[in-house]
Symmetry: C2
Subunit: 260 residues, 2 copies
């Protein structure tokens, strides 16, 4: 029997910051046919809330350090404010959403990142995706909405990159479903020229990826995303698209497809 | 076929404020046999967070007014910080918890309280408990953990009294289960003399309740709790106990049983 299809869609901070954009996206998402999972971050709002609370955002090499206070803010903003408002909005669109961190349903376990040159604090690297638990929710008719928080199984919540959660959940669910993964962000896709928003590379395969890396064409922020994509494809994920949310409509082909 | 048993336990703000007390309670809760649901508030922490953010807590006749800013704080604190930490702690105790607002799984729908003498703001009165949806989670092996937030079905989250959520969920679930409801708070039970913590009234039935009301013995804060209890008993809830968390151990009888 062929596997059922499952779409895993990740939205970034820019959509979350903009109520109109978020509403438009959620309408698109709700019209996606078949089983689906949403993953969201919420970075800027967390930074904003931290600063309101007088908590300094500590960055090392462009990456956020998650101390105990920052983890509290992230838990409030990602797990509470952003996640629960998205769930309520999806319910209004007749999508029976259920908001989750990795602790809920024990869905995503991670390991606190070991301290080497940098102590990232309460940051977790994904160790296990409980695809059977997530599947129970899907089979019961719910649409899981994950925020970028996992847990270590010993009572500790951990801040975890939303792109990585997305690819790891996609990989995990591939045991049961034919999975499609969508990275939505503010650009139309991976760009050849970061200054030209219309220079979308419409298809990247393993060879082109190597070439782009060699030529230094891929921008910094795009690198880990592409790494996640090829990891996902190498571990059972069927199709991957990157671009702005309009790629979900299938009305144009102005986005980046990733294949092996 | 006799109905399966289900325990619905509500903990108050005092336990949540105290990490040691919370851990001790969660250990007790995790050892409860059979199906169970946890409901929590988190009032003081929300007030504290609101004041940190410079949001004034507005009270009218001793009741909090939930304006838009306050609702944001409540969503962050109840739905994020408190709920997700409880879920992670329960997972560490091998309870497969799943944290919920009423929006998640469309579990609890409410109606924004109409503006009469007082405009309570974003406060919801429970309209519907989707017991079949909650039952799907229980049947899948999950332990629901509700915070004191519901939604109106049109995308609006609403602040809702945790005691009321507890009794309404207990009533709803009584369609499918033989339900026991536990109101845990800092006192040993309903007290005859508010100044004597050992003056626990061990059993209150409808007649005694009327007598206590007449004599003005029941303290203000206890009144709505008792009203919820009798409402619950009149709508199918089987047993109700009120007292501190030690009543969950069945090791003493120093708590208040409520019956019709």
């Amino acid at each position: 029997m062929p596997k059922q299809k499952l779409s895993i869609v990740k939205i970034g901070g820019n959509i979350i910051e903009d109520d109109l954009a978020l509403n438009a996206f959620l309408k698109l998402f709700s019209s996606l046919k078949g089983n689906k999972i949403l993953v969201h971050g919420g970075g800027k709002r967390a930074t904003h809330m931290a600063s309101k609370l007088g908590i300094e955002s500590k960055m090392v090499k462009g990456r956020r350090i998650t101390d105990a206070e920052t983890l509290e803010v992230i838990t409030m903003v990602y797990g509470g404010l952003v996640n629960k408002n998205i769930v309520a909005k999806l319910q209004a669109l007749q999508i029976d959403a259920i908001g989750l961190t990795g602790a809920d349903a024990n869905a995503i376990t991670s390991k606190k990142r070991p301290v080497k040159e940098v102590d990232f604090g309460f940051v977790g690297d994904v160790k296990n995706v409980a695809y059977n638990a997530i599947n129970k929710l899907i089979k019961a008719g719910f649409t899981p909405v994950f925020c970028a928080i996992t847990h270590d199984g010993n009572g500790q919540l951990l801040n975890t990159n939303a792109d990585t959660i997305t690819s790891q959940v996609a990989i995990g669910m591939s045991a049961l479903f034919e999975t499609s993964m969508y990275y939505c962000f503010e650009l139309n896709g991976v760009l050849k020229d970061i200054n030209d928003k219309n220079s979308v590379i419409k298809h990247i395969d393993t060879n082109l990826y190597a070439e782009l890396l060699n030529q230094g064409i891929v921008a910094d922020g795009m690198l880990p995303k592409l790494e996640n994509c090829f990891d996902a494809l190498n571990h059972g994920v069927k199709t991957i698209n990157m671009g702005n949310t309009s790629m979900l409509t299938n009305e144009n082909d102005n986005f980046t497809r990733i294949t092996l």
